[in-house]
Symmetry: C2
Subunit: 134 residues, 2 copies
């Protein structure tokens, strides 16, 4: 039996999906993951990609990034960290800001409640789009 509970089988699809996320640094959407996986597993369906990504996220092997008003992205970095989303080109990048102190403060002031996770998304123009815009 595996470390976790439910039964589990290894399939080409699962392996390829996990590999695709782990080897991507551009925070792909499920659709992008699907397109990338299709190169090695031609017939894979988007439904399967969603299903497997969901499982991987639940298992903590991958992180789903929920963005305001945009499809979710998937990230190989699983610990909480902030993201930046360009409102013009849609690019998503990591923001290396220390949220430890911030989180600690939030946990103290959020009286009685138990914060377990944070979604921190900055929005604006990325360097390239900022330049193009004058």
């Amino acid at each position: 039996m595996q470390a976790e509970c439910a039964a589990k089988r290894n399939t080409r699809q699962k392996a390829a999906i996990e590999a695709a996320v782990l080897s991507s640094s551009d925070h792909p959407t499920a659709l992008t993951v699907c397109e990338r996986v299709r190169e090695s597993v031609p017939g894979i369906s988007l439904g399967t990609v969603y299903r497997v990504l969901g499982t991987l996220a639940r298992e903590g092997r991958v992180r789903e990034i929920f963005l305001p008003d945009a499809p979710s992205r998937f990230d190989k970095t699983t610990c909480t960290h902030a993201h930046f989303m360009c409102v013009r080109c849609g690019k998503v990048s990591d923001v290396s800001v220390d949220e430890g102190e911030f989180l600690r403060h939030a946990k103290q002031t959020c009286d009685g409640c138990e914060i377990s996770e944070a979604e921190i998304v900055f929005k604006g123009l990325c360097a390239e789009c900022k330049e193009e815009n004058l």
Copy 2:
């Protein structure tokens, strides 16, 4: 002519929708706003509520809160501020944590990009749900 550009007409619907958000402190969804407005404007449609809320948000008279994996909420407080969402009961509340320093730091480290907004959502159990859970 109004302060802004486009033509504009005053309707019962618009007034009631704005009033509903401004008098709510529970961060209602569009559907909840619709239900509340129906008490004074019985025939109002959800489509209109979405349309007007969108306009109000664009004008900065109201703020849309994008939540991970949940319908948007609408808030009378328009300046950037963090929220807490209970993953059990769905309740959304303001978190009075000072994000000024955090935002300033992010703006510095996000090299070249121009941060204009932030969505900060903490997830976890609220005080009541935490208690009920043991």
